[in-house]
Subunit: 223 residues, 2 copies
């Protein structure tokens, strides 16, 4: 828990202001009080497809985290890494069963929802439907609606929802949910059928680690 030498830890996060996967990590870094530098990558200018960026992150996706020269990719792996190297304050429960439940909720977002509605996929679906270069909003809405339907049911079936998705402590599931909620709003997804999610999004919107890392606060934000 010592904060004494934290300024010596060197973290660089490659991020895009509107990338919800980047936001998860920005929020986790803030929550854990880990000093870091943010390097913006502009996906509208295809900077994530530059040879330089691809040499770090071969998927051409955001975020990428560089820690003391070690290049790490994929936000679920980054969340686990941050939890391991700085366990407190925790973003996962202390018991294996609780961790499995939280990871299960998070995976509804970071496996089944977000990757299916990322920009590359939406453009591909648009192209397959004869609209080259257009992101397919109808498909995106369906993906997010389907993911939120599962998340909402998992909250009630699991009976684990409290102030947060799992009890009364913030976890990685909440960070994934909130960032996905931002995408839901962008794509105009109707959240009427998701009362538990709506309540969580309202609560989470007040969290400092989320507010202070909001896309609109980012150096590369376009207003």
């Amino acid at each position: 828990m010592s904060e004494g030498k934290q300024e010596q830890i060197e973290f660089e996060l490659y991020s895009y202001w509107r990338s919800s996967a980047s936001w998860r990590i920005r929020a986790a870094l803030k929550f854990k009080g880990i000093n870091h530098k943010i390097t913006p990558i502009n996906i509208l200018k295809d900077e994530q497809r530059s040879n330089e960026y691809l040499s770090k992150n071969p998927s051409g996706f955001l975020p990428t985290l560089v820690h003391n020269g070690n290049i790490l990719i994929q936000s679920p792996a980054l969340l686990e890494y941050l939890e391991e190297i700085k366990p407190e304050p925790a973003l996962l429960p202390a018991d294996a069963l609780g961790r499995a439940r939280v990871r299960g909720l998070a995976a509804i977002i970071y496996c089944d929802t977000h990757p299916v509605q990322n920009l590359t996929v939406l453009k591909k679906v648009g192209a397959l439907r004869g609209k080259e270069g257009v992101t397919d909003t109808e498909f995106a809405r369906w993906v997010i609606w389907t993911g939120f339907t599962a998340y909402e049911k998992a909250l009630s079936v699991g009976g684990t929802v409290g102030k947060y998705s799992y009890g009364d402590t913030l976890t990685i599931a909440d960070l994934c949910l909130f960032a996905q909620g931002y995408n839901a709003e962008r794509f105009g997804v109707d959240l009427t059928d998701f009362p538990l999610i709506r309540k969580l999004l309202e609560t989470l919107s007040q969290e400092d680690c989320i507010k202070s890392t909001h896309p609109s606060t980012q150096i590369d934000a376009v207003q």
Copy 2:
């Protein structure tokens, strides 16, 4: 490491023979020597959409693992859970950096590839292209090709490939890769451009935990 009381541990895995996410968990259970019962769910008969199954797994996806009455979902969460409750033999490296690298590789498959080409998504893309009820093979091939392109580069960029995806020890990344390779074959994806992956798939095909849990060996397999 004691095996003495293992027969008392009660695991039930809801699985479908051709589900690559189920296969990951079947292989992990086998690798770790965890006795378990398999309950088949026939997704061609939409059994995963029954109220009974949805009450366990609200996503309507496979697999679901029940451990001593505790219902757990999402294969990445299950892999972590099995690693925590039975750390040996290990499916993750001992150091945080190594674990992050392995999870990063695995997530290229379990986030960016497999969920984007699951049956539900392929049917949705088919329907959006005017072919209701048809799985979109063209989209599936693109998704797997894109995912394998990233995985292949990550293996060489990371420089971590050995006998397996990360050094000379089998990890969760290999289990995810191999099961995805099975899907690649089913969808007719050309693997010519992926020499490292092809070599890994050849090696992995000889692993007992993979061979003995192959879809064709399953009780619900249709030959």
